[in-house]
Symmetry: C2
DNA sequence: CGGAATCCTCTTCGATACTG
DNA sequence: CAGTATCGAAGAGGATTCCG
């Protein structure tokens, strides 16, 4: 039985469920899609295996994630958010918006991660008159964003992209913190584009990336 | 020096600052206005004095709250959110929205608190064509809400209200969790109104209170 | 190799007592 | 009123071991 604040208040009830250390970071890492135990473990250095197991048990017990098997041929055990768990996305995005102000330059000991950058796209998005599908290649990792009135960001390559944007993680970091402009990074060859510039520009505007 | 996740990610940076136990509840209790040390302590049963002092020190060091003296004649030491600290309100409201689903009936050991109910008005608000100032009297405590396009909720009686709504805490709880309807509570005398019903109705609609 | 449980140490939390 | 000081209990971090 875990500790509770015992307050009849939504904020306290929420923190009873997800206020423990690491819990909301786990949720963040599940927002883009299901992940397996070791993916989660390796994606969260500092989190130990016993604590991960414990947190996954708690989240499962509260109905916020479930353990399931991916359809063949993958047939692999993964954890994924339930519908209830998806309701935590606004919490994660609000925290991200608050914390983003404290994220100018990565400090030397800061870990960087492509997935965290991809998650931030959801909260950066402000709607776009145009629509399209962008494939983001952040180092070795692929994500796709389908945008228009809404934006959907997914792990992997579920769709056929209109345009691909390719760069390493520090490059994407510089772009997403506003330290660099898109056109400069393309000019210097740190970011590569394949496909119509019009769509990548619309995407950039929609997620507040400096053109 | 406090523990850090050391991740270059807004969510992690936010949790580095406010992810510890009690911190966000403290922020919640400061949203409606400045409070003194003992008010905070008594408003958060279970939080001990040494931990409160520690949390206040951390929040102050991070620039999220400040210690200040109320203008005379009060001349009393209080803690209040800074501008930076106010940026946490969306986080608190998002948590409240998530947790509200788990808040049907108060369990016997759940504490209730007028202030927490008043904070929830901000997240429940969805805009109103009409405007007005409602005084909420929740047990002994007074709050005011000025609403229209936006809503502002304040501790105490800063304005001249158009209408007053008076009831005890359980009554307000039943109203705000949707267990009871406004008109039934008024009919049964558990809620009293003083002032034009038109304004209290507009207010009720705007904060999703069942008419 | 993925998915844990165990053991041990260290830090944080909680309860109470005490002080300017 | 506004905090410190002290101390046992709970939780987190790290390494190792176990199981299918």
């Amino acid at each position: 039985m875990s500790r509770s604040y015992r307050q009849f208040c939504g904020v306290a009830k929420a923190l009873d469920l997800v206020g423990e250390r690491w819990t909301l970071l786990l949720v963040r890492d599940l927002i883009l899609g299901p992940r397996r135990y070791t993916d989660l473990l390796h994606g969260l250095p500092g989190l130990t295996t016993n604590l991960l197991a414990k947190r996954l048990r708690e989240l499962t017990r509260h109905g916020l994630i479930r353990r399931t098997t991916l359809p063949p041929p993958a047939s692999v055990l993964v954890y994924e958010l339930t519908e209830e768990g998806r309701r935590l996305e606004p919490v994660v995005l609000a925290l991200g918006a608050f914390g983003a102000e404290y994220m100018t330059e990565p400090s030397p000991e800061d870990l960087m991660n492509a997935r965290w950058s991809a998650v931030s796209l959801r909260r950066r998005f402000r709607g776009s008159p145009q629509q399209g599908i962008v494939q983001l290649e952040i180092g070795e990792q692929l994500f796709q964003a389908r945008f228009g009135d809404e934006i959907e960001v997914r792990d992997g390559t579920p769709w056929a992209p209109d345009v691909r944007l390719m760069g390493d993680l520090p490059t994407w970091g510089a772009l997403l913190t506003g330290r660099e402009r898109l056109r400069d990074l393309v000019k210097r060859g740190r970011l590569r584009r394949e496909g119509p510039a019009q769509i990548s520009s619309a995407f950039a505007r929609s997620v507040r990336i400096r053109p």
